[in-house]
């Protein structure tokens, strides 16, 4: 208890010192940032403005020993600077620089009283480390969130469910299918069937790079789930080699309605939907 | 957070899966995932009713290093499963129903664990992580 009180008192003294020397310490920090070539994506004015906010939040976190405000600021800062290409090492770097700049000023102030310096550092270091940690974690979390969002967007783009006619959907699958993407494909298709009231779906796998037993099983499941919603699936673009492989590894192709190519698949879909496909008369 | 549902009748199966769905949604799972989780709980609770009559389902949130998830444990003191390996193969059934549904439950969830001793009961633990 007594130790805690002493630590709080030292922190108060520390905070007063950092407030008093705010202008000078902040400038020193900004200089160190440009010397070490951090935050190169930002202008000097921007760095100064952010440095001011970070400095004040930092001191406030030391004073109140609460980190919520700093955490919120770190998240907000990350949101602004991530799109500009600021890297994790830069954010961690500047916070560590600030920690060092402040520690040095403490050395300078208490160099004649070594005992006191030690006690001050005992109070300062854990708080400073926690601040550095808070900012770094905030940045990384925000970055992960952005990356997840981008992945999501890319996946949405890479699996278009196209409505070519009333009640007919086409799902061209291109590239590599991992289990996560396979699941997303299926969910998107099932939702598409419902919203478009589709009765027939043509899944074209001409562009699928490789088909192993897992992917094949996903395909079978997609066909079965679509049927549960009342839609018939036609699979097109299954190469003889892939078909052979699937049969060899025991995938039941009997459950799948397959047609050689996309054109043939669409023709069959139209027949199922009751459209009459008539050849245009040759011009004579 | 830990939710215990005593399973002794078919009504309890419905209750267990409803609680499971709400907990999953509360933990931020998508409604698609919540459906998978609720379905798995329904199967596990059903196994208790059909094979052991009494038992319980425990629902719990779990924390990984950088993810959250849900853990479902279904426990009973029933007759146990003589051949667990066989019970995990698709299409296996002893009660003339669609089977124990265990291979299906395994596909619905991310992690699956089963301990069963003949005469002493069965515990099935499954987990699903939020992506």
């Amino acid at each position: 208890m007594a130790k805690r009180d002493e630590s709080s008192e030292l922190l108060r003294e520390l905070v007063a010192h950092l407030r008093q020397n705010r202008t000078q310490l902040r400038e020193e920090w900004v200089n160190r940032i440009s010397e070490t070539r951090l935050l190169t994506a930002m202008t000097k004015e921007e760095i100064f403005a952010e440095a001011t906010s970070v400095y004040d939040s930092y001191v406030e976190a030391l004073e109140t020993e609460t980190f919520e405000a700093l955490q919120a600021y770190a998240r907000n800062l990350s949101e602004r600077i991530i799109p500009r290409g600021v890297e994790t090492h830069e954010v961690v770097g500047i916070v560590l620089l600030l920690r060092d700049v402040l520690a040095r000023s403490l050395f300078a102030k208490y160099q004649t009283d070594f005992k006191k310096l030690n006690r001050i550092l005992d109070a300062y270091e854990p708080a400073a480390n926690r601040i550095a940690n808070t900012v770094a974690v905030g940045f990384v979390q925000e970055r992960e969130r952005v990356i997840r969002q981008q992945q999501e967007a890319i996946r949405e783009l890479s699996t278009p469910v196209l409505q070519v006619r009333e009640r007919l959907l086409i799902l061209p699958i291109i590239g590599v299918i991992d289990p996560q993407r396979a699941r997303q494909l299926t969910e998107q298709l099932l939702r598409g069937i419902r919203t478009n009231r589709a009765k027939v779906v043509v899944i074209d796998i001409t562009g699928v790079a490789a088909m192993d037993v897992t992917v094949a099983n996903h395909l079978v499941q997609t066909v079965e789930a679509s049927r549960l919603l009342g839609a018939t699936v036609i699979v097109t673009g299954l190469s003889p080699e892939i078909a052979q492989t699937l049969v060899t590894i025991g995938v039941d192709l009997g459950k799948m309605n397959t047609v050689g190519d996309l054109q043939g698949g669409i023709e069959q879909a139209e027949r199922l939907l009751g459209y009459k496909v008539a050849a245009l008369a040759e011009p004579s | 957070m830990e939710i215990r549902v005593t399973i002794s009748s078919d009504q309890d199966i419905v209750l267990a899966r409803q609680k499971g769905r709400s907990l999953a949604l509360e933990l931020g799972f998508s409604s698609g995932d919540a459906t998978l989780i609720a379905t798995a709980i329904s199967e596990l609770a059903r196994n208790i009713v059909s094979y052991a009559r009494n038992g319980q389902v425990i629902l719990k949130d779990i924390q990984g290093s950088n993810r959250v998830g849900i853990a479902v444990t279904a426990t009973d003191n029933g007759p146990g499963i003589p051949d667990v390996g066989q019970a995990l193969r698709d299409g296996f059934s002893t009660s003339g129903s669609l089977g124990l549904g265990l291979p299906g439950v395994r596909r619905l969830m991310d992690e699956f664990e089963i301990v069963s001793k003949p005469g002493q009961g069965t515990t099935v633990g499954v987990k699903k992580w939020r992506l």
Binding site: R197, L228, L229 | I13, R21, S31, G32, T35, E43, V49
Partner: protein
């Protein structure tokens, strides 16, 4: 929980609620079969739009309903399976093989009318 069964011409429509217990499902199966006999219905639509979980028991009951009703010379179609429920079902290996399915009530009626025409 009583499942309402609606008679519309030659078709019976049963609408499932979300939280059906096994006993409810069994009761529904007997009620449907009885009414098909009583009204000499030609078709049955089971609307499961509200069901948020379709486990092995529910799925098996639906298949049994369809098979028994076929033995009475009538057709059954299951309508309204939700996308998420369908996804969970196929993961569990429940595909309602041999049972007709349609998107919703409207599609189910269209399917049955088509069937009735071809039947005579």
């Amino acid at each position: 929980m009583e499942v309402p069964i609606l008679k519309q011409g030659a078709v019976l429509i049963a609408t499932f609620q979300a939280a059906l217990s096994d006993a409810d499902l069994n009761q529904l199966r007997s009620a449907l079969v009885q009414q098909v006999v009583r009204f000499r219905s030609r078709g049955v639509i089971v609307d499961v739009t509200a069901m948020d979980v379709m486990d092995s028991f529910a799925s098996r009951t639906l298949r049994e309903i369809a098979h028994i009703i076929r033995l009475r010379g009538a057709e059954t179609v299951i309508v309204g399976i939700q996308p998420e429920v369908a996804f969970a079902m196929v993961q569990l290996g429940l595909t309602l093989e041999g049972v007709a399915t349609a998107l919703d009530l409207e599609e189910g009626l269209a399917y049955l009318n088509q069937k009735f025409k071809t039947m005579k």
